[in-house]
Amino acid sequence: MYQYTEFDKQFVRARAAQHRDQLERFEAGQLSADEFKPLRLQNGWYVQRYAPMLRVAVPYGEISAPQLQVLAQIARDYDTPDPALLAHAQATQDQIAGPAPKLTTNYGHFTTRQNVQFNWIPLSQSADVMDLLASVNLHGIQTTTDELAGVAVDEVVDPRPYAELIRQWSTLHPEFAFLPRKFKIAITGAAEDRAAIGWHDVGLQMVKNAAGEVGFKVLVGGGMGRTPTVGTVIREFLPWNQIMNFLEAVIRVYNRWGRRDNIYKARIKILVKAEGQRYFDEVEAEYQDILVKDGGLHTIPQAEFERVAACFAAPALNLPASTSEWVAQAEADVAIEAAKTPAFARWLAQNVKPHQNPALRAVTLSFKRPGQAPGDATADQLDAAAALVAKFSAGEGRVTHSQNLVLPWVRLDQLHALWLQAKALGLAQPNIGLLTDMIACPGGDYCALANARSLPLAAAITERYQDLDELNDLGHIDFHISGCINSCGHHHSGHIGILGVDKDGKEWYQVTLGGSDGKDLSGPTGPGKVVGPSFSSVEVPDVIEAVLDTYKALRQPVQGRDEHFIETLRRVGHDPFKAAANAARHTADAPTA
């Protein structure tokens, strides 16, 4: 992991102090609510339906055991609303038609942005929380990358040092603090894109050219929301050390040209669509000016790269010297356990991924289980996860954009012990990549922007599909739920996507099919297609079942296995699925209470 220097630590503390100063002026009436809003947002503080939300950045998802412990502490000591506020919130939620889950407190939530959110911290305590976060070098600012970076077998270049350098460069950039809209960068260094780079404002794919030199393929103008758009390649190969100079050009032209008259047209995707080649030409000219006229001062020196890269060396794991024999023996032992215990075998198949080091594996702890919302972790679970990370993964975990926690440094001979402990904690559901490993935003239970709730639907589908044989038979399915068009639940990229919409004050849901996040199995990045008019909340589980039954009826064997859902959909087209979905509408169309 990146090791904070004294400068880095001082910087995070100064940001916490800055937030405290702003909070105090806000509370003293010297800063209006409108003036305070963008300032607190830049420190990760949002205001939700009933209470503030804190978004704690976990840069490129990498998190240490002590950091997880501090998140547990925050969940335990601060994520506690005033009882009257909670009672009011629950009473309000109870008035919505349909099943209403109990609102929960004192937990963290892993999100699609690879960060951790809290939903109930009183704003008045926000400065204390920032100080606590600063004590473990955390803050409320963002970045994402491949959850398997540095361990994936298909990795071309480890993206983490570059992600860290870009994180530093972008932090409190004076010129770009007030861009037209939000701006997100994603990086992958692997053959397979697990970071959904096509869906980001800037997507960076690390590549090597014919001469073996490292560089970036640069995409610009991707984004979800109201106008789902896949990024366009602006540069096939940019030398690695030029990335900041080039990003400066990309963002400066966006800052100067981006629309500010209409919030729905302010993202860079709209600019890239509207201007096309003219935008690309301007960026290229600006990049040349940065190099020639400004002297290209943000060219990354080799020594600086090496300083940062050294932080990402593999941790010491005390592995035996004669690796190949040891690996063979450890694999044999794992196989014996797996033969004895089918549940362990299932977990190995679904939640354990190969590693660059054959003596190690990357293990995903599943935060998708009945009774808790996708990605939620209580204070005790965060503490328990910290202990697993410390004991089994060299002190390092990774928050994934699919709302789970990866342990990237697990020894083969410790897999069984880890499984036993994870299972005891309820974090060993063997469902990674399957239907119930769904992505869902907090939705209308918490979020002020949501048009509909996500969590009751997530709970209904989770309950309906508890049979592991059935889940395995359905195979890999990306199932994504967003409570509104802001798309925090990435519904556009789901093989099956659900979007909450509001009609006449009631909750309705659009169902889309065939979206892709860009990973190999999903196919080329793109949004799904809507199957028809929206459904009521009680209809949605039946619609999902009808769509899945259609898949089971139509799938064919391919290369000795069954087609995946997305493969059948692509082969036969949307029509049979659409017909099945629409036939599942309830005839009495009124949502029941």
């Binding site: 910087f11 100063d21 300032l39 004076p174 000016d289």
Partner: protein, 125 residues
């Protein structure tokens, strides 16, 4: 960074100053004889003038005064200073007493700016 009031801003007329709308590309202008350029923040969340200031100060080496006008709050002063402004006209009613500590808070920054052009890594090396 010199912080002034609207009154002070309006009290001295300078014949050699110009005011730029925030969608103008400063590279298209003839700046001969211009001693002061007033850039505009119609809303404090509209950040176009930061790029204008950067281009004027850094790219065009404009040596005169860059003045921030409009919806100017004390929490923008650091960005203004770093993108090349040297004078800020605080919005009416904004208390200036908390301004200086915003400017003093950070001992350094990661990226180079229009004023301190070298990034932190160049200094550390």
């Amino acid at each position: 960074m010199n912080i002034i009031t609207t009154q002070e801003h309006q009290s001295v007329e300078s014949p050699t100053h110009i005011t730029l709308a925030n969608d103008v590309d400063p590279r298209t202008l003839d700046l001969g004889g211009v001693t002061r350029i007033d850039l505009q923040f119609p809303k404090f969340t509209d950040g176009r003038a930061y790029s204008q200031a950067f281009l004027l100060r850094r790219r065009l080496r404009f040596a005169g005064e860059l003045r921030a006008t409009g919806d100017v709050l004390i929490d923008q002063l650091v960005q203004m200073q770093r993108t090349g402004f040297d004078v800020a006209v605080l919005k009416d009613g904004v208390d200036a007493s908390a301004a200086q500590r915003q400017l003093d808070r950070f001992a350094g920054f990661y990226q180079g700016s229009a004023v301190q052009t070298q990034p932190h890594f160049a200094k550390a090396a």
